[in-house]
Symmetry: C2
């Protein structure tokens, strides 16, 4: 986190007209302005504070927030390099009309900017770097004992996951039922007597620290604003309370470029809110977030109307949809937005059928989602941590899927930046890719003993050269097929290999084939072919 | 068709104050009022005409239409019995302010009223009679030689289909490329020089005759307003032309209780219109149809946003979605409206993969859709009629699926009036029904050799009695399993048979099992159980 505390110096230099050091922050980093203001009354409800930032070309109104002890902050993540000037706005004299500037410097090598929707169904960082989502779920990890939180970070550093779904407010878990969370988001008396007009800045600054640590690991934080697990009473806020909470969270967290907003976990299980409430809250996030982070809402049994304009991508709970790639594709066409199957049941052993996938089933679901042009989320539900699980509490991973998801992630990183789309929608559910360039076929539970090249006609012509590799999704091997394939028209729909070659497959489940066009240099083409 | 021509008599009796015969029409029948008015100029664009009907409780504004030769008509289908009074409205003196009345009598035994959405995902007639859609497709049958149209009606009289998808305007077909259609919807010169401001009443009155004949057969007419097959130029109308056409069609056809409006066939292939155009036209139909017939829009490759409020049910082209019941269910939850898979490829033998299903594949798709709580449409694409097919031209059915769909329809007629819904969504794709009452499991391509009772917990308790039958969907047999099953709790999710009985299945594809609760009379319960 780029914490800037140069304001006093800056103010001094402005007043004296003297040359002074101007604060710097990386493009897409966090510029933080800190002011001192009133501490009496209830600053959370009585003081409005923010700043307008401009680089001359664009102007951004950024909400600030009260951080306790008379301290007011505004956080802004500049989207372009160069000089930015600002002016504060407030309904208090000591916080309004303050002028200043800072310089946004070019991003460092690990800073690719926030993740955005790319090519309708996919994601990319703001600098164009593809983001191929391989997510996991650790709902309550920021509420666990400190040493466990640190262990979770170490686990994540060695794990394949580049996105974590995490609750913002605590939820009851087996552990939380015995030991209270160390901090609470509101002032009041646990477990349910809260003053919803007073936030606890310690709670949020701790949460921010964890978000920043995820950022340092290159991991997106899919921050869940509301959850339906009512024991602590956060679901009892009225509409004004919800709005105050959403605005406070956005002001505090929104400048971190790895933040995504998930309106709710299992929204339909939160019985105090209607679809219209969610639409209002989602629209609020859309309109009051100056950084326009990604926005979604996650379902239980009832699917939300993801055609709402505030929803940037689909966050789906439906494990059955990724049991089979033909199913996985279907929600894409419905909403024409990226589809992330954020909850597909968890790998684990429990009496609950939502938490007892085998490792193989979890890996299978990821591959089904992948060739269907969608993204999948993982969960590890073995009760190994204080009677709790990785997916609820963090700690160590137990299941067998994680290394295989690391392998899948490598395959994804090697896939075209355009993203994997179904090649022949509604005809060949097993194959995704980019026509004429890249094909990934996954055979799922089937156990084929041979394979031969058969490419759908789009972008294919006679005489194109391709290389094939056999992928074992469980044993994590990529075995190149010797020689190359040259296309020949087969019928109105397909091209096949001119030499009619067939390739032996091992007759076991979980196999895939990757076919890549050979470029003029004789190597598989990564993305756009030279001279093509 | 209940054609009423008593207006002159009625007018006479009103003027004289004498007692006279009052016209009668069945509830949900068609009352038609005919007046004479101006024939000069262009009455289609210059004369506005309609009538307001009231039975004292409700008041309905009904648009009229010009039928040529100075004749103006308004058609109204009363939704309640008793006396209805009306007053005409027009921008011409001779057509405005005419008063009259008629009596709506109770419906006859075959008249169940229009089909409406029922229980979120299903359909029922206005009198509560369930409508279990088993559709077919005969796009151009009203444009074929008269003797072929008659043959088509005879075929339909003996076929299982209770809904026909049919175009309103002609489209090019192999036959139409050699012989012009006998009538055209507009005045002008074929194939493309039309005066879109002048309709051809003969075209529409012929179409209406066919719609009325379908009604007499108990068949719904899913009337497709626009199609993308451009050879005849109807897709070149401007927005005003589209609106005039839609209003004219609604005024003429909307009073027939078996009419459904399909905005378009393969809307996304009609390149002269945008999604916003379709939304405008759909909203127009919603607002100008006094009878509020069902409304849908049918896609090619791009799925429409069926969350639009003017859409009453989903009309889906996606054959792959009904290859497997787990897929078929998915669109239900998205839109929470009835899903009709109106195009799932056709049974036939062609070089096109959209027209070469086997009979078994067609029947399989219907059964997948059925247990998933959706409805399916049939097409017969054997080139047997003037080089054309049943699905384009009508005539005789060639394929093997139709008798099996008659068998399925019988199964559907015997199913609960609430409709078949997935019993354990996202867990058991094979089973639909009504919890605690009726279960229909379809095993698709699987070839199980035995079956045992396993019911999801909803509405099930220990000691309930069920009867089971083995269904062969291809050989069209229903074989009762001897004796009865009595439920016993198995785990947190399921109940099984207390005696642990297993039933032998023949180990072939296309098998189903029907399980029905035994009522207090010892017979399978049809719907709600007495004393339950």
């Amino acid at each position: 986190m780029n914490l800037i505390r140069h304001f006093i110096l800056l103010l001094f230099s402005t007043l004296c007209g003297a040359a002074a050091t101007v604060a710097t922050v990386e493009k897409w980093g966090v510029f933080e302005l800190e002011l001192t203001g009133p501490a009496e009354g209830n600053p959370f409800t009585e003081v409005r504070f923010g700043a307008v930032f401009t680089d001359g070309a664009s102007t951004v109104s950024v909400p600030g927030f009260y951080d306790g002890n008379g301290v007011y902050k505004v956080r802004f993540s500049p989207g372009s390099t160069g000089e930015w000037r600002y002016e504060t706005k407030s309904n208090r004299w000591e916080l309004t009309g303050k002028l200043g500037k800072f310089t946004a410097t070019p991003p460092g090598p690990a800073n690719h900017g926030p993740v955005q929707v790319y090519n309708t169904f996919h994601f990319a960082h703001a600098d164009g770097t593809p983001f191929k989502q391989v997510g996991t779920t650790i709902y309550n990890w920021t509420d666990t004992p400190e040493e466990l939180q640190e262990e979770t970070l170490r686990t994540l550093a060695g794990a394949p996951f580049n996105k974590v779904r995490m609750l913002l407010t605590p939820q009851p878990t087996p552990y939380q039922n015995r030991f209270a969370p160390p901090r609470w988001p509101f002032v009041g008396t646990p477990p349910r007597a809260w003053d919803f007009t007073r936030f606890n800045p310690d709670y949020f600054s701790h949460y921010e620290k964890r978000v920043a640590e995820l950022l340092a690991l290159g991991i997106q934080a899919d921050v869940i604003l509301f959850n339906p697990y009512g024991k602590f009473g956060f679901e009892t806020m009225d509409a004004a309370g919800d709005e105050r909470y959403v605005r406070y969270v956005i002001a505090r967290l929104g400048a971190y470029r790895n933040v995504w907003w998930s309106l709710a976990n299992e929204y339909d299980f939160l019985r105090t809110k209607t679809d219209a409430d969610w639409d209002r809250l989602g629209t609020l996030v859309q309109h009051c977030d100056p950084h326009q982070r990604l926005r979604s809402i996650h379902n239980g049994a009832l699917i939300f109307d993801h055609s709402k304009p505030w929803i940037t991508h689909v966050s789906m709970q439906n494990g059955s949809a990724v049991e089979e790639s033909g199913r996985a594709e279907m929600y894409r066409g419905v909403w024409r937005k990226p589809v992330v199957y954020d909850e597909v049941k968890y790998e684990g052993v429990t009496e609950y059928r939502w938490g007892n996938l085998t490792g193989r089933q979890m890996v299978h679901r990821f591959w089904c989602g992948t060739v269907a042009g969608t993204y999948v989320g993982h969960g590890d539900y073995f009760a190994t941590v204080n009677d709790d699980t990785f997916t609820s509490f963090g700690g160590k991973l137990t299941g067998q899927s994680a290394p295989r998801l690391a392998f899948l992630r490598r395959i994804l990183e090697e896939s075209p930046s355009l993203g994997i789309d179904p090649i022949d929608k509604w005809q060949d559910a097993n194959t995704g890719g980019v026509p004429g360039l890249y094909y990934l076929s996954y055979f799922g539970q089937a156990t084929p003993t041979e394979w031969s090249l058969k490419l759908f006609k789009n972008a294919v012509a006679e005489g194109q050269r391709y290389q094939a590799e056999i992928i074992d999704t469980w044993d994590m091997t990529v075995t190149p097929v010797e020689g190359e394939f040259v296309t020949k028209k087969f019928d109105n729909y397909h091209y096949v290999d001119a030499a009619g070659r067939t390739v032996k497959l091992p007759g076991k489940p979980g196999m895939a084939v990757r076919v890549r066009r050979i470029g003029t240099d004789g190597k598989p083409a990564a993305n756009v072919l030279p001279g093509d």
